[in-house]
């Protein structure tokens, strides 16, 4: 997935159309990944739109039939970190932004247990959160996540494993809780929610 490949020929427009169709399908996933990185719905959509345009402009270097989802996620992630280096979000994720991580724009019915997980996620180091989201929610294999993050597969595995342990510890401690419920109650509600949510995974 490195950029160094043979000089791309100008693709025929039929390829453009196919590329665009694939890209459109990926937009919801790019938005979700962007949301998990920025923790802010507006900034996330800006980021996702930038990444979408970058992918479109670079379409000649994409080989149809390869993993376009991983390719676009890598573009989005690079965009996020380069903007971040340019000071867009220089400060460490503050608590307020952290609490918006992956928050739905308009979902009053979102179960309490999900808010708890959101807060627990926000306490993770950025590289652990990103690895866990890619593997645990984005549906990527460790190898794909490693390509997206441009690091070793073993590094991704260890980040995911540490993230899982840390999440569980945080949820057990109930350190995120704002309603004063004991950790045991929280855990039971998590398990109950998991039961409700269990089911075939789409996409």
């Amino acid at each position: 997935m490195s950029g160094a490949s043979s000089p791309p020929l100008k693709p025929p427009s039929a390829d453009d159309a196919a590329f665009k169709r694939e890209l459109v399908v990926l937009i919801p996933h790019l938005r979700a990944f962007a949301r998990s990185l920025t923790g802010d719905p507006t900034a996330a959509d800006d980021l996702a739109q930038d990444a979408m345009m970058k992918a479109w402009d670079a379409r000649a270097s994409y080989q149809m039939g390869t993993n376009m989802k991983a390719w676009t996620f890598m573009i989005l992630r690079n965009q996020f970190y380069s903007e971040k280096r340019r000071s867009w979000r220089q400060t460490q994720l503050d608590q307020e932004a952290a609490e918006r991580t992956l928050v739905a724009v308009d979902d009053p019915g979102s179960p309490i247990a999900l808010d708890e997980l959101r807060l627990a996620l926000a306490t993770l180091p950025e590289e652990q959160r990103e690895a866990l989201i890619l593997v645990g929610a984005g549906g990527f294999a460790y190898e794909e996540a490693a390509e997206i993050c441009q690091c070793a597969v073993g590094t991704v595995k260890s980040r995911v494993s540490r993230a899982r342990k840390a999440l569980q510890a945080t949820l057990d401690r109930g350190g995120y809780a704002r309603d004063g419920r004991a950790a045991g109650d929280a855990m039971r509600s998590i398990l109950a929610a998991a039961d409700r949510l269990s089911g075939p995974r789409q996409v």
């Binding site: 427009s13 453009d16 665009k20 890209l23 459109v24 937009i27 919801p28 996933h29 938005r31 979700a32 949301r35 998990s36 959509d45 996702a48 739109q49 979408m52 345009m53 479109w56 402009d57 992956l102 739905a104 724009v105 979902d107 979102s110 247990a113 999900l114 997980l117 959101r118 996620l121 866990l132 989201i133 645990g136 929610a137 984005g138 494993s161 899982r164 999440l167 569980q168 949820l171 855990m187 998590i190 398990l191 929610a193 998991a194 949510l197 269990s198 995974r201 789409q202 996409v203």
Partner: protein, 65 residues
């Protein structure tokens, strides 16, 4: 999540706690996907498709056909 799978010959007490860990991790996994999917399932703002449409016009515009 084979990392947390219970080895044969594990003492029952340990086995139970490993099983609990596995269940909890499973629960976290389900919720994590749900969080992500909440955003995936939101309607895509028009701006996205509009931007793509304009990009398309830009790349095909001016080239004759």
């Amino acid at each position: 999540m084979k990392d947390n799978s219970v080895q044969p010959g594990t003492p029952p007490g340990k086995r139970a706690s490993l099983e609990e860990t596995r269940l909890r991790q499973q629960a976290i996994g389900v919720k994590l996907r749900h969080l992500f999917d909440e955003v995936v399932n939101e309607p895509v703002p028009d701006a996205f498709l509009e931007i793509l449409r304009r990009a398309d016009e830009r790349s095909s515009g001016g080239s004759g056909e």
